[in-house]
């Protein structure tokens, strides 16, 4: 059952340049997640992944951000709600885990006070019940000494502990959808995998839909059911996780995969990097936004933005925004194409 469905979402910021042309950070993004399902959203910095999620929660800066499209959640169109109705969705309908664990907790409040705040003020918990619930949540995310931790201030906790607190806070009001925005960027590699496993376990135990945003394909590989790859504000490829890793179709996805160091491939002198830079959102290139960096670019690529179309003869649900791609047969090493 689909719990969150986003249709043709666009985000444009006005007044950022002198010409007055709107700066589009999200262009026609559509996706959906079902209860208990997990979706990975992958792309490099500035591709619009965080903007998409902030637009879903309607938490972009109030000045100048223009959002169009529809966001269906729990039988409502979130874009049509009043600010008060929207506030009721945040936290209790859709939870958010922020990316920087070090700065996402209020330094002037104890862990317990900030965890319990919405429970006491909006969910009718007594102080005692809220404290008990918070201790239970900290136990659930594997933070030792939960009772004492409630009285700690954020600066007394390590980065990994703070990320666990943030996760506990995000699930405290039992949301149906959990959005985790780069939940592991500020953490050590060993802690990263623990946090990812924790998020995955909570999704299964609590039957939440999970949207995991990351720039690291390695992060989503083990955790998500489906992946959407974003580039310059658009989804360029979406597929079930295994299909995407086995048969990446879009040149950008393939280039991303090539740049992951792999133990099971022959060692190379230099890890391939994608040449060039992502396009300036204020002046995107005509046609396909990846064309200037694409190894397989043709003259036609400049004519129009290709649609996100299902791949024929592929796994159901595999769609790609490139008409000149054919799925690479299973077992073939797509890396050979570029050398």
């Amino acid at each position: 059952m689909t719990v969150l469905e986003v249709e043709h979402l666009r985000v444009a910021h006005r007044g950022h340049n002198q010409a007055g042309t709107p700066l589009e950070t999200v262009r026609d993004v559509s996706f959906s997640v079902a209860a208990g399902e997990s979706l990975g959203v992958v792309g490099e910095s500035g591709c619009g992944k965080s903007q998409t999620m902030l637009a879903v929660l309607r938490m972009l800066a109030p000045t100048g951000a223009e959002i169009t499209g529809r966001v269906h959640f729990d039988g409502k169109d979130l874009t049509a709600l009043t600010p008060r109705q929207m506030r009721a969705v945040r936290g209790s309908g859709i939870g958010l885990v922020s990316q920087d664990a070090l700065s996402a907790l209020n330094p002037a409040m104890t862990i317990g006070a900030q965890m319990a705040e919405p429970l006491i003020h909006y969910d009718g918990f007594s102080r005692r019940d809220a404290a008990a619930r918070c201790a239970e949540l900290l136990d659930l995310v594997g933070l030792p000494g939960a009772r004492e931790r409630l009285r700690s201030h954020p600066h007394e906790l390590s980065g990994g502990m703070r990320q666990r607190v943030l996760i506990a806070m995000a699930i405290s009001r039992e949301p149906q959808v959990l959005i985790a925005d780069e939940p592991t960027t500020a953490l050590d590699v060993t802690i990263q995998s623990q946090v990812l496993q924790l998020i995955d376990r909570l999704r299964k135990d609590l039957r939440m839909a999970l949207i995991l945003i990351t720039h690291d394909l390695g992060v989503v590989a083990g955790v998500t059911d489906r992946i959407a790859v974003m580039y310059a504000g658009r989804i360029v490829e979406t597929a079930p996780t295994t299909a995407l890793f086995d048969h990446p179709a879009h040149p950008y996805t393939r280039a991303l995969m090539d740049s992951i160091p792999r133990m099971d491939r022959p060692r190379v002198e230099y890890l391939p990097a994608i040449p060039g830079f992502p396009p300036d959102p204020a002046a995107p290139p005509p046609g396909c936004a990846f064309r200037p960096r694409c190894p397989a670019a043709r003259a036609e690529c400049e004519d129009s933005v290709p649609g996100l179309l299902p791949l024929t003869s592929a796994v159901p649900g595999h769609a790609v925004r490139c008409p000149f791609t054919a799925p690479v047969p299973a077992g073939a090493d797509h890396r050979g194409e570029r050398s």
């Binding site: 506030r87 936290g91 209020n106 900030q114 600066h155 995000a170």
Partner: protein, 315 residues
């Protein structure tokens, strides 16, 4: 918190000692002879010499300083030459009046300044934000004695709705009467500080409101009012409180001008009269009281900041 408060309180002692040295030294370097100021230009040299001996002015400076310090400790600030009464009596009568005036002014400036600054910061670049900038510029450019005079001209002389000078009307003296007399001097005193505090609050709130933890609170469904009061202000206020503390100190010294303009019977007016009359003991006493108030305010500021920011206590 208690150890921090006690330790910080101990830090005040050397500062206050330094203040006594400064006030004493001030009396030494001010030109003019106290004896001739008291006895007038027609007095004889013998009379003047006798008075100097009587007042102890002929002893060496160091021994006079220790006498001065010893007297201070027993609450004796010397004898006012122009009032003919102990300085401590003259000042204590007026201290309450000054505290009433500047306390009200700083309270008005702090509450209104924080409210206006926060309100403007919620919509940076909006009409209200630009209005704040213009207001700040205006009130920080206008000298307080001129502003006070303009208020008197408009509200007392033209509109005739508020009294211009003094603390009570003749035959009056009730709380309402005093409050009416306070309105104009409080506005005059508060305007400058209010502008400074509003500007500081605006920039401080703008800085904090973009923080990740504010986003965290919003993402959990916390309402905007609670976000401001519980998450933004506690983190934005420490720097504002420093400014409020400084302004409170300035208000006490600024009271000299304002009290003179409005003939408010406070320390400032007494100090103004003492300076004109070359009444050195009263000048010294007045400055000492204001300086100690300044030190106490800074102590309070530090304690309040430690309360808001738990990290300070560790330092």
């Amino acid at each position: 918190m208690l150890t921090f408060t006690l330790r910080r309180a101990l830090h005040m002692l050397p500062v206050i000692l330094g203040v006594t040295i400064a006030t004493f030294g001030l009396g030494q370097i001010i030109p003019g002879d106290q004896a001739s100021a008291l006895l007038g230009p027609t007095s004889s040299e013998e009379d003047r010499q006798a008075l100097r001996e009587d007042l102890g002015l002929d002893e060496p400076a160091l021994s006079r300083y220790f006498t001065y310090l010893g007297n201070l400790l027993s609450g004796d600030l010397g004898r006012s030459l122009s009032f003919g009464r102990p300085v401590s009596e003259v000042l204590s009568d007026r201290l309450l009046n000054t505290l009433l005036l500047s306390g009200t002014a700083i309270a008005v400036a702090a509450v209104a300044g924080v409210a206006i600054g926060t309100w403007a910061a919620q919509k940076p670049g909006s009409a209200r934000d630009r209005g704040l900038t213009i207001g700040v510029l205006f009130f920080n450019s206008v000298p307080s004695f001129w502003f006070g005079l303009v208020l008197i001209v408009v509200f007392s002389l033209q509109l005739r709705i508020l009294p211009a000078t003094g603390m009570t009307s003749i035959g009056g003296g009730g709380a309402l009467d005093i409050a009416a007399h306070m309105v104009l001097p409080v506005i005059t005193l508060a305007a400058w500080s209010l502008a400074v505090i509003a500007r500081m609050t605006r920039s401080s709130v703008l800085e904090v409101i973009g923080n990740d933890y504010v986003r965290t609170a919003r993402s959990r469904g916390v309402g905007e009012f609670r976000v401001i009061v519980r998450h933004v202000l506690p983190n934005a206020l420490p720097s504002v409180i420093t400014v409020i503390g400084l302004q409170a100190g300035f208000l006490l010294s600024g009271a000299v001008l304002t009290e003179t303009v409005f003939s408010w019977p406070g320390i400032g007016l007494a100090l103004h009269q003492a300076i004109s009359a070359r009444d050195i003991p009263l000048v010294q006493g007045g400055i000492l009281v204001i300086a100690i108030a300044f030190v106490l305010i800074n102590f309070l500021v530090d304690v309040i900041q430690a309360y808001f920011n738990p990290k300070i206590k560790l330092a």
